[in-house]
C-alpha cells in the first residue's frame, strides 16, 4: 500500500500528461497549467529541506569542531544573510536591505562565479595535455581534429596554410554535426524509454527495492 499509492500517482500523472501533449483544448490547457503551478509550489517546499540540510551539515561541523569548522560559519552566515535580505528587502521601507543584497550579489557572488568559470581556461590546457595522446586510433582522431580546429582559430594556422580555417569549418560542419545527431537520436530513445519505465513503474529504485 505504502508503495502502491505513489506508483499509481506516477502512472496516472504520466499518462495524463503524455496524452495532454496532443490535446489543445481549453480544459487540457488548464490542466497543464495547474500541474506546472503545483509542481512549482511543491518544489518551493523542498528548498527548505535542502537548505536545512546544508545548514545542518555545517552546524554539525561547528558543534563537533571538525577540521576547518570555522569556514562553516561563513556558509551559514551567507545563507541566512542573503535569504533574509532578499526576502525582507521587498518590504517597503527596507530598501537598504535590497541594496545590500544587490551589492553582495554583484561584488561577492558574481566575481566568484566568473572566476570559477574562468578556471576552465586553465583546465582546458591541462586536460588536453594529458589526454590528447595518440594511444589508439580513436585517440589519434580526437587529437588531429582538435588540433586542426585550434589551428583554425589562431592566425598561425592560416599563416601555415590558407585552407586551415576551411578545413576546420568542414570538420565542425560534417563529422561533428553527424556524430552529434547520431548521439542525440540515441539519447532521445534512451530518455523516452527511461521516462516510460518510471511511468509504468518498471523502474522504481526511487521507492527503494530496485524494481521488486
Amino acid at each position: 500500500m505504502k508503495r502502491q499509492i505513489p506508483l499509481m500517482i506516477v502512472l496516472f500523472l504520466g499518462i495524463l500528461l503524455t496524452v495532454q501533449f496532443f490535446i489543445p483544448s481549453n480544459s487540457s490547457t488548464v490542466f497543464y497549467q495547474t500541474v506546472i503551478q503545483w509542481y512549482l509550489i511543491i518544489t518551493g517546499f523542498t528548498i527548505i529541506l535542502a537548505v536545512g540540510s546544508l545548514v545542518n551539515h555545517h552546524n554539525l561541523k561547528i558543534r563537533r569542531r571538525k577540521e576547518h569548522w570555522w569556514n562553516s560559519i561563513a556558509t551559514i552566515t551567507g545563507v541566512v544573510v542573503m535569504a533574509l535580505l532578499g526576502i525582507l528587502g521587498k518590504i517597503e521601507g527596507l530598501g537598504w536591505m535590497m541594496d545590500l543584497y544587490r551589492k553582495l550579489f554583484k561584488y561577492v557572488q558574481a566575481p566568484m562565479d566568473s572566476a570559477m568559470f574562468a578556471i576552465l581556461a586553465f583546465y582546458m590546457a591541462s586536460a588536453s595535455y594529458r589526454a590528447f595522446r595518440a594511444r589508439s586510433k580513436e585517440a589519434l582522431l580526437l587529437l588531429i581534429s582538435g588540433f586542426i580546429v585550434m589551428l583554425g582559430v589562431v592566425p598561425f594556422g592560416a599563416y601555415l596554410w590558407r585552407a586551415i580555417p576551411d578545413i576546420s569549418e568542414w570538420i565542425l560542419m560534417v563529422p561533428n554535426m553527424a556524430s552529434k545527431r547520431g548521439i542525440l537520436l540515441g539519447v532521445g530513445l534512451g530518455s523516452a524509454a527511461t521516462a516510460l519505465k518510471i511511468i509504468l513503474g518498471i523502474e522504481r529504485s526511487w521507492l527503494g527495492g530496485g524494481g521488486k
Binding site: 496532443f22 490535446i23 540540510s53 588536453s128 594529458r130 580526437l142 542525440l184 534512451g190 527511461t194 516510460l196
Partner: protein, 397 residues
C-alpha cells in the same frame, strides 16, 4: 502550408498583441486621403486550428498596391453581423496577410471580418466582408500527429519486448566499459579506505538524465552498503536531493544495514552552478575520494570537477547525454558513458529482465529509425516532390 500555419499564428499573436496598442494610440494625421489604394482580396475567416478555442484566423490576399510600396498595414475588423457594427480588433504591418483573433467572447457563434488597407499617406480601403466563422475548441493537435504516431509506436515496441522478457527469454547486453568498472571502482575505494563521490548532475528531477543518474546511484549505493564504504552525494537541486537521500537510504535498508546509513552523506550545496562546482572541488580536494562518479546532466562545470578529480588520482566514471560536455569528460575521466549508454546503465547493472527488455525495444526502435531515414533519403533523391512530402511529414509543431 497547413503545417506552417500554427507557427505563423503564434508569431502573429505576439505581433498583434504588440501592434494593436500603438496602432490606436498614434493619432492619424488628418490629411485627406490623397488617392485611393486597392483593397485586399479574398478575405477568409476560419476557426484557428489546433487551439483551445475562442480564436478565429483571418487571411487575405495583399493589396495590389503593397508591391508598389504604398501600403502601411492592415487593420482587421470584426462584427457579429455581416452588415454593420464592425470594430477594429488588430493591426498588422504590410507583409502580413493573416491575423489571429484571440479571446473571442464565445465559441460557436458567428463572426464576420473585413480588412481595411491603410496607405502610407492615410488612404484607406475596405475589403469585402468574409463569410461567417465560428471559433471551436479542438481535441486533437494535428500538428503533433507524427509525434503521437512515434510515441505510440515506441511504447508498443517497448511493451512488446518487456512482455517477452517477462516470459524469460535470455537477453544479451554488450559490454559497457564504464559500467563494467563500477565494481572494481567500489572495491578500490574499500581497499584504500577512502570514500566514493557521486554527483547526480546539476539538473532537476524532470530532466531525464537525472533520473538515469539516480537509477545508477541506487546500484552503486547498494555496493557501498555491502562493502561499508562511505559515499558522498552532493546535490544542486533540492528535489533531487530529497530523492537521492531516499534512494541511498533504501539501498542500505535492502542490504540489511540501515544503521550504516549516514543522513549527512547525501546533502545539498547550492543551486548556483559555479557555487556547486566550487563546493564539489573543495570536497574532492579535501576528502580525496578514491572514486568519483559524475553522472547525469552537466554543463560547463563538467570539466571543472572532472579535472580537479583527475589531479587527485581518483578513478573517474562520468556519463552524460549532453553532447557539448562529453568531449571534456572523455579527456578528463577514465570511463565515460556517452549519451544513450547512460540510460542503459540501470539495466546493465541490475540485469533485471524487464529493464533489459526495454533496452531491446530501444535497439529495435533504433534500427527502425535508421531504416526509415535510409528510405527517406533514397526517395528524396528519386523525386524532389517526395522530399518535400517526407520533410513535411516530419515537421514538428
Amino acid at each position: 502550408m497547413r503545417q506552417k500555419i500554427p507557427g505563423l499564428l503564434l508569431v502573429l499573436f505576439w505581433a498583434s498583441l504588440c501592434l494593436a496598442l500603438p496602432a490606436q494610440q498614434i493619432p492619424v494625421t488628418a490629411e485627406p486621403a490623397a488617392a485611393a489604394i486597392a483593397p485586399v482580396q479574398a478575405v477568409k475567416a476560419f476557426d484557428t486550428p489546433n487551439d483551445k478555442g475562442r480564436s478565429i484566423t483571418v487571411t487575405w490576399q495583399a493589396s495590389s498596391d503593397e508591391a508598389k510600396g504604398l501600403v502601411a498595414g492592415y487593420e482587421v475588423q470584426r462584427s457579429e453581423s455581416s452588415q454593420e457594427g464592425f470594430a477594429d480588433i488588430g493591426y498588422v504591418p504590410f507583409g502580413f496577410s493573416s491575423y489571429t483573433d484571440q479571446e473571442l467572447p464565445a465559441n460557436g457563434k458567428d463572426y464576420y471580418y473585413r480588412v481595411r488597407a491603410e496607405g502610407l499617406k492615410g488612404e484607406e480601403a475596405y475589403s469585402q466582408v468574409s463569410g461567417a466563422a465560428q471559433a471551436r475548441e479542438q481535441w486533437f493537435n494535428t500538428m503533433r500527429a507524427n509525434a503521437l504516431f512515434g510515441t505510440v509506436l515506441f511504447i508498443l515496441i517497448v511493451i512488446y519486448f518487456i512482455s517477452k522478457a517477462k516470459k524469460g527469454h535470455h537477453l544479451f547486453i554488450r559490454k559497457i566499459a564504464g559500467l563494467a568498472a563500477v565494481d572494481e571502482a567500489v572495491g578500490r575505494a574499500t581497499e584504500m579506505g577512502r570514500p566514493i563521490l557521486f554527483v547526480p548532475g546539476i539538473a532537476s528531477i524532470s530532466d531525464i538524465p537525472t533520473i538515469a543518474a539516480l537509477n545508477i546511484l541506487a546500484e552503486v549505493s547498494k555496493r557501498t552498503a555491502e562493502y561499508d564504504t562511505p559515499i558522498i552525494v552532493p546535490n544542486r537541486d533540492p528535489v533531487v536531493y530529497t530523492v537521492a537521500q531516499e534512494i541511498v537510504k533504501e539501498s542500505y535498508n535492502q542490504i540489511g544495514r540501515p544503521d550504516a546509513f549516514n543522513h549527512d552523506s547525501v546533502f545539498y550545496l547550492t543551486d548556483n552552478q559555479m557555487g556547486f562546482a566550487s563546493g564539489v572541488d573543495g570536497i574532492i580536494a579535501r576528502e580525496k575520494p578514491a572514486t568519483n562518479f559524475f553522472l547525469g546532466y552537466f554543463a560547463a562545470e563538467a570539466l571543472i570537477i572532472a579535472e580537479t578529480g583527475a589531479t587527485t588520482g581518483a578513478i573517474q566514471i562520468a556519463g552524460t547525454d549532453q553532447v557539448t560536455q562529453l568531449p571534456f569528460f572523455i579527456t578528463a575521466c577514465d570511463y565515460t558513458l556517452m549519451g544513450e549508454e547512460l540510460y542503459a546503465a540501470s539495466a546493465y547493472l541490475s540485469r533485471q529482465p524487464m529493464l533489459l527488455g526495454t533496452l531491446k525495444g530501444q535497439d529495435w526502435s533504433k534500427a527502425l529509425i535508421g531504416l526509415l531515414m535510409v528510405v527517406g533519403v533514397v526517395l528524396s533523391f528519386i523525386n524532389p516532390a517526395l522530399r518535400t512530402f517526407i520533410l513535411k511529414l516530419l515537421e514538428v509543431g
